[in-house]
Amino acid sequence: MSIKEAEAQLSSAGTTTDAALKSATLLQIEGLCIEGQSEERWHRIVKGIGLTLRRGEVLGLIGESGAGKSTIGLAAMGYARPGCRITAGRVVFNGRDLLQLGESDLRRLWGSKIAYVAQSAAASFNPAHRLIDQCVEAVVGHQLTAEDNAKRNAVDLFRRLRLPAPDQFGLRYPHQVSGGQLQRAMTAMAMACRPDLIIFDEPTTALDVTTQIEVLAAIKDIVRQFDTAAIYISHDLAVVAQMADRVMVLRYGELVEEAPTRVMLSNPQMPYTKSLWAVRSLRKEEEAGEKILLDVSGVDASYGTFKVLHDVNVKLPRGRTVAVVGESGSGKSTLARVITGLLPPSSGSIRFDGKKLPARLKERDKDLLRRIQMIYQMPDTALNPRRRIRDILGRPLKHHLGLTGAARQRRLLELMRMIELDERFLDRLPSELSGGQKQRICIARALAINPELIICDEVTSALDQLVAEEILKLLLRLQKELNVSYLYITHDLATVKAIADEIVVMHQGRVVESGPKSQVLTPPHHAYTELLLSSVPEMDPDWLDAILAKRQGAELGASPSG
């Protein structure tokens, strides 16, 4: 049997009623309520959500952490994770309420009619079996076609998803292929039975931007080719805009706004929806620096025998911000460890305020430690959960400045004013603060002892858009007031535009381009900078198609042989 025949057999729904089916409702959710268990109590996670999905339609679910979007995605399959329970509502799929079906009826639908693509494909594949065996398991298990047929179909899907060497790809094991490939393999696995509906649960969130774009393109293509309905879940509106026909914005388990994608992007109604653009709208006026505070020159560094930094040069002027941009594995966080003295460089030198910086933390005196401070990505792990804010902020005041009693209290109040938090927070534990408030405390801890350089390691990437914007504004204001310098490490270009004076682009442990912001962000770019800049999704539903067309054109132009 050929692939075409197999296909025909698989999409046995038939072609005659195609037009009629197209407009038919595939999934209807009404009044869905879900509760989750924590500390032996049940809390409402999803509070009465309703949605309608037609055949062949892609619905985007967007929301920030805690919006309950993953839970809704799974509930659309009639499934609740352990520790969650569906308390009310109907999930009608093809005319049947999934919440009323028994385990074995659901099992018949799962995989064959509704499929799921998880965020972490690496954990979602069984390490003990070949990819192709896992991809065809549902088809064979549901007795839709014979195994060899299913395998040929899987190879075809691998090809359509642009996986390398599709004939051999499936013979490998999950740990033998890269994250981006695994995510596409998972899409192939979901598509194997030609389901009516696929739930994509943040399938590109764990990937770097340059990998993300390939996976997005592959998913978009294949969903279009088979005219599959999908629910696409993401926290990134720009990503959802590329995939979805219609977008629902969720917050705290409730619907904020629902509209067709183009309408949503051009004319958002609710203030919360508008805030999703917050960081993108922030722009800092670039200022040239004069006196160099930090001068990293020719630095190499390695973990054991593995070299992570190659001849890195960075110059940071006093009172300015240099953004270090790169994907995971670019060595940008390693650079921070080298500057703080946690990882001594194997060669090269670092000068701070004109003097050579001792390589090791232990060799630096107390005053030097005071002058260089650090703020971390995850405010949750950057504050000791067992100490009160007063102790967390008070300790460096005593340790470095020798402040006690009333003098320390005055300084504490001053700090709280600086970070715009009420002084009552001093007596709380970190767990009693929100993510943004915790990050403010981290900023206060760094500022407490009048440092000259603050290394900011992805300080906004764990925060929601709106909170991130406020933190960035705070950092900018404090810089103006205190003339402190920032070395800002990030992978997010919107943040770079918002905060940087100068930019350093890193790739695989090397600096590929550096200079003032305006210069680096305007063409002509270095090839990698170009790839990085063009891979960042924009708030434009046509962006993905346009960029792919452009890249394809460039490829064709470069190699006329085809």
Partner: protein, 313 residues
Amino acid sequence: MSLSAEELETLGREGAPLPLAETSSATPALTSRRGVLQTVWRALKTAPLTAWFGLIVILAYAFVAIFAPLIAPFGESAVVGNQYEPWGGKFIFGTDQLGRDMLSRLIYGARNTIGIAVLTTGLSFTIGGVLGLFAAIVGGWTDQLLSRAIDMLMAIPQLIFALMLLSIFGSSVPNLIVIIAVLDSTRVFRLTRAVAMNVVVLDFVEAAHLQGEKLGWIMSREVLPNILPPLVAEFGLRFCFVFLTISALSFLGLGIQPPTADWGSMVRENATLIAYGDVTPLLPAGCIALLTIAVNFVVDWFLHKTSGLRDEH
């Protein structure tokens, strides 16, 4: 599988949704602070029956151990009757092989057996805990060296090692305490190091290093408070283990020596009665069993409570 991170975050925030813009206006406290006693009481109210049973038993044992001389009708090793007198009358549980009152010896036994086990566990935690924290924070070669040495000691079964050392140094209470404590500290080391490792990699510990904080501060203020719950639970489990080991050694005649009243030795001394269908030797054994069961019930509940682990479905 538990909830996804994002769902847990919702749960943490439930009840007081944050205002849209985070400004200086303080949000109401997300969790109101409570006194420690109140927290304990709240936890106890929801505790299962087994935990209540365990707590009551432990308190009763502690009471008996502390007030032994006031409660016991006769002296610890006073010969007050004929050997193996039956239950009832003057001697509620009869007399032992030398004519000493069984009940009095059981009561004094609580004091001796539990006291020695608590002392041993405490010593074991001091050694293992300090070394484990030290290894986790310092890392590198120090950690490797310590860990390999501990692995070595753990390669010999604990009871066998203890038997061997006792044969060399002889059986006395101080020897017993030191030998068992040192051998048991290897497990405390392993656990302390493992849980401390999870904390040491967190950013706030790195932040403390970057502030130039000394080792002592980091060990006691930054890491220790964060690993206390698993250590407390482990203290309960190690106590049971030590208590059972010492009882086993005493039962084998190599632990606490006569005439000290001790439950393990009492089983051994009166074991012959079993052959006549008499349950008396089971009394001290039952005392041991009841206490370890009680401690295990409490630890089980405590672990369930603090680990945040849920059983699925």
